[in-house]
């Protein structure tokens, strides 16, 4: 039953079925990091072209570009994937290098608050430009 010889009696069937291991969280972190990474491959390349095209653009041109439905949707997906992927990466950095327990927990919570706040702010900004920005030009 267990992958480790001699350990058969120590793992309950539920523990084996959940497959979470010592961390208690299983592959969730690893998997979401990969899924957001795959999403960010085309999104970041697209974003480079978007920014390149908007260099020295006037404010109304920027608003018009963000307000294009395809651009708005991509920007929203990019914002969510970007901050999610970044937060997962920073989480591991904190786990690796911060060994003072209270500071580590504080940073981990602050990281989650910051990531959600930043992603939400980006989404709201894009929605705002998309849905109301037409009045600017």
């Amino acid at each position: 039953m267990s992958a480790y010889p001699g350990q058969e009696g120590l793992r309950t069937p539920l523990k084996v079925a959940l497959g979470n291991g010592a961390s208690g969280t299983g592959v969730r972190h690893w998997w979401i990091q990969r899924v957001t990474a795959v999403a960010l491959i085309p999104l970041s390349i697209w974003f480079l072209f978007l920014v390149g095209g908007l260099l020295h653009a006037t404010y109304p041109v920027v608003l018009a570009s963000v307000a294009q439905p395809v651009h708005a949707v991509f920007l929203i997906v990019l914002s969510v994937c970007l901050f999610w992927h970044g937060a997962l990466g920073l989480q591991v950095v904190i786990e690796d290098y911060v060994h003072t327990r209270w500071l580590e927990v504080t940073l981990q919570i602050a990281l989650r608050f910051g990531a959600v706040l930043a992603a939400l702010a980006c989404v709201m900004a894009v929605l705002s430009v998309w849905l109301t920005g037409t009045s600017y030009y």
């Binding site: 960010l40 914002s79 060994h99 930043a118 900004a125 894009v126 705002s128 920005g133």
Partner: protein
């Protein structure tokens, strides 16, 4: 009770390999790109706020320090992108060469590792050549 045991391998005892540079650069560029993500947030919020806010953001991006940061962010993004794709290929079991330890039999992943670094630098230069030509081309 604080744990005084060593928490990571002693980096000095390993023979240096490009894989170590890739891993370190991947983490450093990732950290730097998190700052870049905040710049993206600033830009979007500024665009949604007002013309004055956008102009302040654009002025920062156009300033010398802004241009240097944007150049570093471009390379960070492209290295993290190239190395990330390479990482994903490793995750699905591709790209592993024979486990030879002698220097003259460099496994494929050492060559691939260097090509990730070279490709990211070349792509960064190409992107900025395009950007400079684009700016010189008239939109400015």
């Amino acid at each position: 009770m604080p744990n005084t045991r060593p928490t990571s391998p002693h980096l000095g005892i390993y023979r240096w390999r490009v894989n170590m540079l890739q891993s370190t650069l991947h983490r450093l560029t990732g950290l730097f790109l998190c700052l870049g993500a905040l710049l993206v947030a600033w830009g979007l919020i500024a665009a949604a706020s007002s013309g004055a806010a956008w102009n302040a953001f654009a002025a920062f991006c156009g300033s010398p320090i802004g241009m240097i940061l944007l150049f570093l962010w471009t390379w960070s993004l492209l290295f993290h992108l190239c190395n990330g794709i390479y990482h994903l290929l490793h995750d699905v079991g591709q790209g592993y060469g024979p486990a030879r330890r002698d220097r003259e039999f460099a496994p494929v992943y050492w060559r691939a590792g260097w090509s990730m670094i070279v490709a990211s630098v070349v792509l960064t230069v190409l992107v900025w050549i395009f950007l400079v030509l684009h700016m010189a081309g008239g939109v400015a």
